[in-house]
Symmetry: D3
Subunit: 61 residues, 6 copies
Amino acid sequence: MPYVTVKMLEGRTDEQKKALVDKVTQAVHETTAAPKEKIVVFIEELNKKHYAIDGKLLSEE
Amino acid sequence: MPYVTVKMLEGRTDEQKKALVDKVTQAVHETTAAPKEKIVVFIEELNKKHYAIDGKLLSEE
Amino acid sequence: MPYVTVKMLEGRTDEQKKALVDKVTQAVHETTAAPKEKIVVFIEELNKKHYAIDGKLLSEE
Amino acid sequence: MPYVTVKMLEGRTDEQKKALVDKVTQAVHETTAAPKEKIVVFIEELNKKHYAIDGKLLSEE
Amino acid sequence: MPYVTVKMLEGRTDEQKKALVDKVTQAVHETTAAPKEKIVVFIEELNKKHYAIDGKLLSEE
Amino acid sequence: MPYVTVKMLEGRTDEQKKALVDKVTQAVHETTAAPKEKIVVFIEELNKKHYAIDGKLLSEE
């Protein structure tokens, strides 16, 4: 606790994901005082066929 | 905002998904007065091996 | 199945919510061919203190 | 209703998943009095590249 | 890990919730071999005004 | 996009939440290159009666 979920379009590299979870964990730690070893981060990747804004899938653009 | 998530069994065609996000966005727009360009729709597909009713996975049927 | 979740700012009236779930269910039914009695809709309301864009809570604006 | 989601690392066998949904459904039925045929269980599998504790992805270990 | 979320109508007693998390944790432990102290359970309560089946909120019935 | 959800025990102050969404947005921006005005953060607060580890609600301790 806390549990953080980051939902984003697929396509980021492993290096970007490593940096993402590192920096987000640091940000949560500094602002909530939760110990870092209790902070969990989940990444959920979105496919453009499954994500729509304004009634249109991103894969349609 | 609003953010709509539709969780359903996998297997719908791309055409069905296009129609789905279009019509759902329209329905949310008409009833909440949110502008269409602010309405986001996510599709999440379920695998029959990961979805159970009455204690049985759908893949068991 | 399908399961639809609509996450939006709190403040809509009961009448708006009734219309919302009715129209969204209809939209999902027409486009996925799922029978209406199998379609579930959840509404999740967001508080402006718990929703941020561009690093700012909506309650700060 | 109830709707139960079990999020866990990928790698369990189909047999484990069958036992999991069976036992979890039984546990929810006994303690909430919900009829078993109304209890839904979703399994969500986590990839080690998408799950971090203490700022580190499990795939980094 | 695993993380279990139980979404159900509000109204269960504290005793029912204690029994629920106890039994569900036991069921997950037995079937996935995850140690009990790593199993997390979240309860999410649904209001009848925010839950619809067949296009109708449960509060309308 | 990205959409970030932070689930944590209730009890943080408004100041902590403001700092949290600010720093988390910054962390996501720096590591994914997403523009800050596209980054959304949701806070979900957990009640100790609805959160269990090792089969015990935190309210029982």
